[in-house]
């Protein structure tokens, strides 16, 4: 069974890569040959071709873990050990740690697709700048804002649906595109005038014009901001502003200025780099690189809202607990 699946997979890969010239070599020769003769494929109108389905699944965290402070890269052997240890730590099949930890792990690992490998460079964080691999400190203003938001959440998180976060409400996965424990698949489609990026998780779609038009007026705010693309050599640069004040990326929202760079670096890989520029939130701009590798197959429909029974369950649960607390208070009077 496993063997036939492997054969299928190999066949699928061979089929998927049958057209371009770079894969007409044997597998063993491919890597060398690719680096020598591979050229960025182009769309009929001459743009670098980024199209296809891509996954950014990886075990490498956004920030360098404290245990690896000062160590920017792992050796091959260190990476293998770290992958094993990290997966064992994260797996949903763990049952230790008491009831609270058990509930927080939610369900078995078979529902997840967090990957088992670190990124190819074996860098210990997706963040490449600052060099310590950590998100820069928040400005005093942002610290205050984040603390206020946390206090509001403490007081109101189950008052109504609008107090739940954007994921729970099925509104958006948000930007930038970072991997999570599952549904890390993205599809890129290009037309002469635009690049379209579909996010499987929470069915987001970005239509990014390439015609040089200016950003929307600043009073128009969108969950995924307002992206404008242009080519710098073979790199697609997407400049996004006009995020909603309800967006929350590490404490940044309305003032987030996101610059993303997509570069096809091989037959099966896109380098996705992004710079987070928000001086009202971070004490300095910062940058991360996330490899996107070719995924077999398609993007699946997510249809999040229709099946989101959990949101009502959470609110009903809060009402039931309040009623129980009120009942026991009255009973003790």
């Amino acid at each position: 069974m496993a063997a036939s699946l492997k054969a299928l997979t190999v066949a699928a890969i061979a089929l998927a890569s049958a057209a371009p010239a770079w894969c007409q070599t044997t597998a063993s020769a491919k890597v060398k040959t690719a680096s020598k003769t591979w050229a960025v494929p182009r769309t009929p109108d001459g743009q670098p071709d980024l199209q296809g389905t891509w996954s950014n699944t990886t075990l490498t965290p956004l920030e360098r873990p404290a245990e690896l402070a000062g160590k920017a890269y792992l050796t091959e052997q260190e990476a293998a050990e770290w992958e094993k240890r990290t997966f064992a730590n994260l797996t949903g099949d763990r049952r230790d740690g008491g009831a609270d930890a058990d509930v927080a792990r939610s369900y078995n690992e078979f529902w997840r697709d967090r990957g088992t490998k670190v990124i190819g460079s074996r860098r210990t964080s997706l963040i490449v700048d600052p060099p310590d691999g950590r998100v820069p400190a928040l400005t005093p203003e942002a610290q205050k804002r984040v603390a206020q938001a946390a206090a509001a959440a403490r007081a109101h998180s189950t008052d109504g649906p609008e107090y739940q976060n954007l994921w729970v409400r099925c509104l958006t996965r948000g930007l930038p595109m970072l991997p999570g424990p599952y549904n890390n698949d993205f599809q890129i489609v290009q037309t002469p005038g635009a690049v379209v990026i579909l996010h499987e998780m929470i069915h987001d779609v970005r239509v990014i014009p390439l015609d040089g038009r200016p950003h929307l007026p600043s009073d128009v705010r969108q969950w995924l901001g307002d992206g404008r693309g242009h080519w710098e050599g073979d790199t697609l640069v997407v400049d996004t502003t006009n995020f909603s004040e309800k967006d929350n990326f590490r404490g940044s929202g309305a003032n987030l200025h996101l610059i993303e760079r997509f570069t096809r670096v091989g037959p099966d890989e896109i380098s996705y780099r992004f710079t987070v520029d928000d001086s009202t939130t971070f004490t300095r701009p910062w940058e991360a690189e996330v490899p996107m590798t070719r995924a077999d197959g398609q993007i699946f429909e997510y249809a999040c809202h229709e099946g989101n029974y959990a949101l009502a369950d959470i609110l009903r649960g809060a009402r039931a607990q309040e009623a129980a607390q009120n009942g026991s208070k009255q009973g003790s009077k």
């Binding site: 069974m1 009831a99 078979f110 990326f249 699946f300 369950d313 809060a318």
Partner: protein
């Protein structure tokens, strides 16, 4: 208790886009760590829906009556990507669910650990209920 949970939710919101959250929403907000349940019964249906799949099963009570429970899992997309289909968990299949009951007291639980009666986990490898489905690897 409520404050503590709200803190967890707020923390999750702040880290959301970056950290590997456990699930689409915090299960601690929906299920009660003080109400562990162990359910054994026959699957009546599985809803292959996002953001989380739900398995329905009939559980026989000690007094002989039957209660239909709903059990929350993860995204079905991961299973579909591995080659499982709507036929992979058929009505009538006997399963065991180890989980925690919903805070509203309804007959809902999370499928913290879902297995066949002999202890094998669902959706792993090739089993009777998943005839022809590939091994869970990618």
């Amino acid at each position: 208790m409520r404050t503590k949970l709200a803190l967890v939710v707020a923390g999750a919101g702040l880290l959301l886009a970056a950290a590997p959250v456990w699930a689409h929403h915090a299960f601690a907000a929906e299920f009660d760590a003080k109400k562990p349940v162990k359910l054994q019964g026959k699957v009546t249906k599985m809803e292959w829906i996002n953001p989380h799949a739900w398995i329905h099963l009939d559980v026989k009570n000690p007094d002989g009556t039957v209660t239909n429970w709903m059990v929350e899992g993860g995204t079905p997309n991961t299973l579909l990507r591995r080659g499982f289909t709507k036929d992979s968990l058929q009505a009538g299949t006997e399963i065991v669910v180890d989980g925690y009951q919903a805070k509203d007291g309804s007959n809902r639980a999370n499928g913290r650990d879902v297995t066949f009666p002999d202890g094998r986990k669902l959706f792993i490898g090739n089993q009777n209920a998943n005839e022809g489905a590939p091994e869970a690897s990618k």
